[in-house]
Symmetry: C2
Amino acid sequence: MERLYSERINQVKASEIREILKLTQRPEIISFAGGLPAPELFPVEAMKVVSQKVLNEMGPEALQYSTTEGYDPLRTKIAQRMERVGIKAVKEDILITNGSQQGLDFTGKIFINPGDYVLCESPSYLGAINAFRAYECQFKEIQTDSQGMVLSHLEEVLQTTPHVKFIYVIPDFQNPSGRTWSAERRKALVEIANRYNVMIIEDNPYGELRFEGESIGTIKSFDTQGRVVYLGTFSKTFSPGLRIGWVLASPEVLNKYIIVKQGADLQASSMSQREINSYLDLYDFDAHIESIKAVYKKRRDLMIDTVKLEFPESAKIEVPSGGLFAWVELPQNVDTRKVLVQAIDHKVAFVPGGSFFPNGGQENFMRLNFSNMSEEKIVEGIKRLGKILREVL
Amino acid sequence: MERLYSERINQVKASEIREILKLTQRPEIISFAGGLPAPELFPVEAMKVVSQKVLNEMGPEALQYSTTEGYDPLRTKIAQRMERVGIKAVKEDILITNGSQQGLDFTGKIFINPGDYVLCESPSYLGAINAFRAYECQFKEIQTDSQGMVLSHLEEVLQTTPHVKFIYVIPDFQNPSGRTWSAERRKALVEIANRYNVMIIEDNPYGELRFEGESIGTIKSFDTQGRVVYLGTFSKTFSPGLRIGWVLASPEVLNKYIIVKQGADLQASSMSQREINSYLDLYDFDAHIESIKAVYKKRRDLMIDTVKLEFPESAKIEVPSGGLFAWVELPQNVDTRKVLVQAIDHKVAFVPGGSFFPNGGQENFMRLNFSNMSEEKIVEGIKRLGKILREVL
């Protein structure tokens, strides 16, 4: 069938994370790969209540087709919650998607022509890179430091790069680096985007999982020209298995996302949308998020402490103030893809950092997920990794 | 933002069906528009049982991320059910999608380069046309008669059209025409596709809803070269609101769909997949389908009889032997878009046939859905339409 495939499909590769996830599903593996929430914290009992309630009160409606935009009461609740991150929104600003990954795919479809450039943080989220690449874009990686993108580098790239459509950023507890942008950088990014007439895609799956410090307003909250598309999700705060996220954008732009959603799969699950809506009516979602944060914070602390104890001194780990991931830099001569092969032999897994640099060439990083493993396994897994690294270095 | 959008997004328009659905959601409207199953037949009580069972027995797993390919027990059951339509399959041949609409979108992504031709039945499903158009294809409509595509016309078009990637067909109770392909045409279509090296996309959402006559083997059942991609769904037999469908294809081709699914939204709902799987374990799905067919057959009969009684003699209606739709041809000077405006005034709706011809120009058809309205409303709605048509003609 070779000659029948599209050009774009040849750009797309299977996600390394997904392939690794398959390996690491074996229960004997201690996995710091993947980006899985802790399943023991899922609101299973509440789901039992709301699924019955939805089926009792609106069963036929919950199993029927519904509008592409999403279930209005849920859209309204999401719009209201956006106020906490500095965004004034009404339900008409919200499109319900199948997780925020779908928002990324739609972003590629709506903005990218083959050959266009996407600017992203270096490193950036692998799933976004793959979603955009399917639309045959090229990437320019923008240097980052502990405050976010280095804006002088961003401007330099914008000045010298044609056909830039958007800047893709994860400003809160970034995947994979765990870093969070400062308020100054957020504001300045919007100014730059206005000046160069490019869009900003703000992907914020982890923002609600802040362990310490004050919440910083979203980039969208500084948007005055409808230039920021904001992607949110219930995957990290409620359940990823239900596949419910959202896109928030200005009316003209959101309309493109709605049209694309129609063609892509008509709508998100009528049932799941109503279950989450009913959950938000009946339960204290914020208290639930607090309980997740408490567990993750302990796991982060334990992972950081154990890494400092067990990894060679030349390994540098950054302390994320929230989210799911810690990021380790090793000396430049270390290839973490090779380390992973040894790690799997010792029944421990992580994601080699190279996957997160769309233009490649940086193999000396590792992404460690701390949300999904018990404290006991965190200690044991980091010890095993430390042993391998001390041998390698 | 005008200059920032992609070329492809300018090709895509909002689906007329979706826009009309919004209008016709008003309860006072008798709607033969849309393609909605009868909600009173949805297995609400069974859903209550299986949602509890899934949450009790595997709650955390049902709310967690899972593999892109889908839930293995469900994939296995779908593969087994494929035997009924003459397809030998194993779970590895199946990818779970968000309804078959997502399979259509992925098909466009995998095969279409801008400017490529898609061959389809004339008329064809609007949702497929829109999904493919987003990848900047052009369409050649192939003439159809009561047996399916007119194959001499198909060959003529294949001989004279460059860059044909696939032939898209709905061989069972087609949307919108209600027509079903003969076995001879199915077999011959595969031979032609082999000869011209093009793919066949067999979209079969209605095949299980046959009211009379013997089931005809699927086009896929005649496939010897892995050239047919088969799209199935639970939307018309179980629930469209759960958004669970599947793609069945040969390994190399299915692998493309899996990779695209990863980038598009990672996976279908872990919960919905397990609910349907549990339903198939606990309940008699075939008996459920029989009960749907009994109701739809009565509605079809009543609609056909009433149309024959109430519509002007120059209106020709074809009798579908299954599915959800009846197709009416009116004299060439009638523009059913204008008829719809009058119909909405009289609180009755249908889809003007023009939407189903991708290259336009045929406005004298109407698609009537008979699955979603009660018998009483079918009679009343057809009477109202008949009155309008008698005035127009």
